[in-house]
Symmetry: C2
Subunit: 316 residues, 2 copies
């Protein structure tokens, strides 16, 4: 078969997922193998290179068609150098990923952080396909963000652009501390962790809520389920998470003014009960001229966004 | 003389300022003539074309060397179409500026709003020269903003990117209405108008302040002068204006993450009494990783920023 192919790698703490994309961002083949984090970075990178060789060998494509390899990694990275400064879930410190992999594979290697890569995946061939400027939120344990300008990840001066989870949007009087050392960050209220915290607080202080009947540790899904069943406390928690997301988008509308906001990650699967109040608050707070034609939509690639976006790193 | 030249036009309500820049953004010649707003848009555009011809005729350059003409206009614009939807200070509605001027002058014409053009001027050959990503604030009657990414004005989907005056940054409980219809916008507290309002409020409610001894209508300069002389109420007003500017920069640091923030406009001339608390608040609220190497500096081109940036529209 002819034409270039692009390899994406999603480096998780337990599994390495590898995928082959064509030039349009279509995911053609995937392979998943154990990370082996416990054996250290040399072994992990050996495995990664092996999985990349394997997926191409097992496909109808030739190694010569591989235009480049991209990897999404959670942690603090020096992106231009392809260097991992610190990755908590891989247990890495100062690993020159790009240098090692380029030596092993003889192809250009590009790395980027997981939220940026997921954003690029959605922008390339997911919910933002064909739209040049999009802002993505990944609502999971934390709140990740990625800003795509003219189809490319926008990094900023220190690679800190699009760190939307650390927008200090909660007013001081209502703010609580964030893992980053600041307080009032968006992820303190709009991540799964934030939602679970608000739920546990409500149960512990004896609020009248059906959440107190949940027999296992409360998850964000419990809160959405109880809200859907009419529990007012749960609905308030959902509305609070949505309110700050909507207000953050109103702010982004006068800074980045994207055409589309895309919401992915586990929390976004809650659907309309979350999206509706987000849209209402965005509409209420964004200047009219900055919301005309602007859409707030769910991500569509699910867990594939990371591998697709990583593949796109060498094209975009 | 050889090489391309770039013409910039700053369209004011009373004067049209025209300038010639070289390829490095150096302003070589300027000419200023009356706008004649009272005679309507046809006459104004005739004059503008005449001033452009005149400045080139009077210079050592040939008309053939003119690579393009840019104009900065305050108002609502359709920038790609070069169309003025509404300009309050020119009294214009639906004027196809680009089309008319290209016909009159036979050269490419580009328009953009005044805050964006001032930002581009500073980024090209002012306080941001050589820096790819900068964010500019123009602190005047309102708060204007401009975001420069890779040396170009970043417009966003609706041309609303960088409308920093309408960041709703003041918490609801302390917010007052803004001309835009929202409340709590940055320009309600950090513009000259906002500073004057806070000063008049203080005097009217009988706060103990030397501002009550000012015999003429209070200006922002009075407030800075009294603050410098030790008046506590004036100092509080300055600190409030600076606080929200610093916090807005902390937000921008995790969205755009520019290398440099540039502050221009009349209010920025207050100097260190304003810049010091802005820097303190930025340092306090921005995540460390997003402030490393980031500077907050005054604009250097003064009133020339508009004409230089307008000239740059056809190069950037």
């Amino acid at each position: 078969m002819s034409g270039n192919i692009y390899i994406g790698v999603d480096m998780g703490g337990t599994a390495i997922k590898v995928g082959i994309c064509d030039e349009s961002g279509k995911l053609l083949h995937t392979y998943e193998g154990a990370t082996g984090t416990e054996f250290g970075s040399d072994e992990v990178l050996d495995r990664m290179a092996k999985y990349v060789r394997k997926i191409v060998d097992d496909s109808p494509f030739e190694w010569d068609q591989v235009a480049g390899i991209g990897a999404g990694i959670a942690g603090f990275l020096d992106i231009p150098q392809g260097f991992v400064k610190l990755s908590a879930n891989l247990g890495w410190r100062n690993v020159p990923v790009k240098q090692i992999l380029e030596q092993k594979l003889g192809k250009p290697v590009t790395i980027d952080n997981d939220a940026n890569v997921a954003a690029l995946g959605e922008a390339w061939s997911g919910a933002g396909a064909g739209i040049p400027n999009v802002v993505c939120y990944t609502l999971g344990t934390g709140v990740g963000g990625g800003i795509i300008i003219n189809g490319k990840i926008y990094q900023g001066f220190n690679g800190m652009a699009g760190e939307l989870g650390h927008l200090q949007i909660v007013p001081d009087l209502e703010a609580i501390g964030c893992g980053c050392g600041q307080s009032g960050c968006l992820e303190t209220v709009s991540s799964a962790t934030g939602i679970i915290r608000m739920a546990n607080d409500a149960v512990e202080r004896g609020d009248k809520t059906t959440l107190s009947l949940v027999s296992e540790p409360i998850t964000a899904k419990h809160v959405f389920d109880e809200a859907r069943s009419g529990d007012e406390v749960s609905m308030r928690i959902v509305n609070r998470a949505a309110y700050y997301l909507g207000r953050s988008m109103a702010m982004l509308a006068v800074i980045v003014n994207p055409q589309r906001f895309i919401l992915g990650g586990g929390v976004s699967k809650a659907g309309e009960i979350l999206f509706q109040p987000i849209r209402e608050n965005f509409k209420k707070y964004a200047p009219e001229a900055a919301q005309e034609g602007v859409e707030i939509v769910p991500a569509v690639l699910g867990n594939d966004a990371g591998v697709v976006g990583a593949a796109g790193l060498n094209l975009h």
